[in-house]
């Protein structure tokens, strides 16, 4: 059975291998070019420091300008790959057979439909995931080499960084693939499954992008009004922030804004001093600032939750595919 499915999907597998080799070559080349660029401009030591310590400052800016497009394209490719897996690997897998009537040939051999389905799923999905994981790792290897001069400086939670890291791409790819196969079996039309699958994937992917943040327990940081809120700079994901009163209860943002505005001027009507302003805040009922956040070090938890949501949806869709294939018309 595996031989049969391998033989039928051979052209597609060779194409994927070609893409993998070409992609890996391009990434390796870009990375070595970038390292040369860093060395020649004297920025190599900047990679591990903060941007302020970096000298010469103009060189860092020039580097960012010349490389940012490549970085963005690489990240967009990894973001887009799961959708391509769904459209070109998942959707035609069963739809083409149902459209051409060759499923009758498969259904009338001595192999159960379930085994036939699993054989096809395995031979299509595993190589696609391998291509995705290898390219994802290579892009990560390349972008990490740019350190704080590259896109990872913005932390793991920005949409473009989160979508290309850890298990998230695999989760998206599983979902897109399962969605494609299910729509293929349900509509029995390759083109319909490809287009509807792509649209549905994009919609669900965007709709669920905010959900995952709320499913991981957040930490709370409380600081005095004169202390800096470090979570806004250290790459953490800030879910909410504001002011607390003396009892530790959150103050509504409208009220807080009004009180802050009031403290900015003295009762006499002149502009308040910094000390006067900071002394005024606790007196008006704004004792502390707070922020609910997920630290950078917990990003892996968010990735796991994200991948399990999309993986769970994928399992449901695959069960639906199996049901539809075994149903007698």
């Amino acid at each position: 059975m595996i031989w049969v499915t391998w033989r039928l999907q051979r052209a597609q597998l060779i194409t994927m291998l070609g893409l993998l080799i070409a992609g890996a070559g391009v990434i390796a080349l870009l990375r070595s070019n970038m390292l040369e660029d860093l060395a020649s401009t004297g920025l190599a030591s900047c990679v591990t420091r903060t941007l302020d310590e970096c000298s010469p400052a103009g060189a860092a800016k020039a580097f960012a300008e010349s490389w940012s497009t490549s970085f963005d394209v690489a990240r967009a490719v990894i973001i887009g790959l799961p959708a391509l897996v769904g459209v070109f690997v998942g959707a035609p897998l069963f739809a083409r057979e149902l459209e051409q009537g060759t499923h009758v040939l498969a259904f009338t051999q001595s192999v159960s439909r379930t085994r036939w389905m699993f054989g096809k799923l395995l031979v299509a999905l595993v190589p696609a995931l391998v291509v995705l994981i290898v390219l994802q790792s290579l892009v990560s290897w390349w972008l990490s080499a740019a350190g704080i001069l590259g896109p990872f400086m913005n932390g793991p939670f920005t949409a473009f960084n989160f979508g290309i890291e850890h298990v998230s791409p695999v989760g998206y790819a599983l979902f897109a693939f399962a969605l494609g196969t299910f729509l293929g079996v349900a509509t029995r039309r390759t083109l319909v499954a490809m287009t509807a699958g792509l649209a549905a994937f994009v919609v669900v992917r965007l709709a669920l992008s905010g959900l995952v943040d709320r499913l991981v327990p957040a930490q709370r940081l409380e600081v005095a009004p004169d202390q800096p809120m470090t979570v806004h700079q250290d790459g953490s994901l800030v879910l909410g922030d504001g002011w607390l009163d003396a009892a530790g209860q959150p103050v509504s943002s409208d009220k807080a804004a009004a009180l802050i505005q009031a403290c900015k001027s003295t009762p006499a009507g002149t502009s308040n001093t910094q000390e006067g302003y900071l002394a005024c805040l606790p007196q008006s009922g704004l004792a502390k600032r707070y922020a609910d956040f997920i630290p950078e070090s917990h990003a892996w938890q968010v990735h796991l939750v994200d991948a399990s949501i999309f993986g769970g949806l994928a399992l449901l869709l695959l069960a639906g595919t199996a049901w539809a294939l075994r149903r007698q018309s």
């Binding site: 031989w3 049969v4 009758v104 259904f107 009338t108 439909r113 007698q328």
Partner: protein, 248 residues
Amino acid sequence: MTGQRQADQALPVLARGLGKKYRRGWALREASLLIPKNRIVALVGPNGAGKSTLMGLVTGLLRPTTGEITVFGEHPTGKGLHPAVSYLAQQKPLYPQLTVAETLKLGARTNPTWDQRYAQYLIEQAAVPSGATVGTLSGGQRTRVALALALGKRPGLLLLDEPLADLDPLARETVLRTLITEARTQGITVVLSSHVLAELEGVCNHLVLLHKGRILLAGDVDRLGAGGTPLGQLALNRMREAAREDAA
């Protein structure tokens, strides 16, 4: 009682009150049918009489709306075809990108009862080049490859939906002769469907006549023809009768 059940299990096809309704209407109604072993069955009826539907129900590709059907004592389900049944659909589905040899390999890999030597013999006999891609073959050659795939499984019941439709007269004769030899020597039951009774008249020894989803005639040819009427005339008379009943 036990003897009866064992006899039922040995029967290639047994149907009681079988019916299939599509969205557009009934394709088969109240069909009760018994196909004994070692027969070459002609399943005859005009286009749209329900021949393909009946075959779909035997293979389990379709689910009956009413009644029940057993194939070698088992109800056909959506899990897969009964291992002793081979089916050649009207469209003769084959993967166009495979070569003939690869198509046989597919048969070998998906059927535990596969007889590679026999399948190769059938291909050689049909003079189909085994290195050729299926997509480049002529209609007749494709039929021969599909037949080799169906017979290579060494089935106990072989269902052929309009197998002769795209064959030239000479190839028809060869294919029919192959089928008869196979059926006689291996003791398999072959069901051939056609809308032309004449092309099967000298070959079959059992007839099932379908008309507008109903079985008009079913039985062994020597018994049906005992009155002296030729088979073709008999079938035509029954169909005229049915048409008159419909009109009335």
